[in-house]
């Protein structure tokens, strides 16, 4: 389990980067993915569902989509010339049956 931290971009869900000064705002950056459960995972999960407990396949799916949407957000921030994204939020919405969107958004800033 590796946190989505890339060395050149500081990510935080605080309003500022503690101990650093924000010198420029670049505005909203965001990234999203829509994920669906594939059949193989569904079958394995429904078996595991009989006894309950953690469904690892689904946890991994969630992990992948969070990493993906974060990476897209970071790519946007990098394109703007930012070196940090502050006030990051994750949000979800169900697009269709069996598919869900994971949306990451934040404010790209330059810190000194």
């Amino acid at each position: 389990m590796t946190p989505p931290v890339l060395n050149d971009i500081v990510l935080t869900n605080l309003e500022t980067v503690p101990g650093r000064q924000i010198i420029e705002h670049y505005g909203l950056v965001s990234g999203s993915t829509v994920r669906a459960k594939h059949v193989g995972r569904d079958i394995a999960a429904s078996l595991k569902n009989l006894v309950g407990g953690e469904l690892r396949g689904y946890t991994e799916l969630l992990q992948e989509s969070r990493a993906e949407s974060t990476a897209r957000m970071v790519a946007q921030a990098r394109a703007l010339g930012a070196n940090a994204v502050v006030n990051i939020r994750y949000s979800t919405s169900s697009v269709a049956q069996g598919a869900a969107e994971l949306y990451a958004y934040g404010t790209a800033v330059k810190i000194a």
């Binding site: 989505p4 500022t16 503690p18 569902n49 009989l50 006894v51 407990g53 469904l55 969070r66």
Partner: protein, 161 residues
């Protein structure tokens, strides 16, 4: 010729299979599910004791005035599901309405597990600030659907200098 209204042995076998198997399944998976849950709670208590030193707060700003050496986003996710027996209980409860007790432990386990994973990601942090919990879905009790809770927990891990 046999009286068509009396049940033959093989009819009884069919009746036993049709009604007996789901009930057997309920009992069997209910016991396994209860065991899995007890074991999870035991593990949660041990891990919580081990990470009790690292506080989590929902406040967005730090007012301690201490020097911060490092701040970074930490995030984790967990998906935990119900067992067959508890799902059956919940469906039953759906008919009459009211509090569904069997969901209490499900949500409790998922949230505690998520917070623990968050803490275990940053053992060297001093505090985790601005914790957010995003619950994805408690799937409805449609037939053959997965019933469970998906959680995303995230916050900023801060290490004081």
């Amino acid at each position: 010729m046999d009286d068509p209204n009396t049940l033959e042995t093989y009819d009884w076998i069919a009746v036993a299979l049709v009604y007996g198997l789901p009930i057997l399944g309920l009992i069997f998976f209910g016991f396994i599910g209860a065991y899995v849950e007890r074991r999870h709670y035991a593990a949660l208590r041990i891990r919580e004791a081990a990470t009790a030193r690292l506080p989590i707060m929902t406040a967005r700003t730090l007012e301690t005035g201490r020097l911060v050496a490092d701040a970074r986003l930490v995030a984790t996710e967990v998906m935990i599901s119900h067992d067959y027996f508890k799902r059956f209980l919940a469906q039953l409860r759906n008919l009459f309405g009211g509090r569904i007790r069997s969901y209490d432990t499900l949500l409790d386990r998922a949230r505690r597990e998520a917070l623990l994973r968050l803490k275990e990601q940053c053992p060297d942090a001093s505090i985790i600030a601005n914790l957010r919990l995003e619950t994805l879905c408690v799937t409805t009790s449609r037939r053959n659907s997965i019933v469970g809770v998906e959680l995303i927990a995230y916050g900023t891990a801060i290490r004081y200098a």
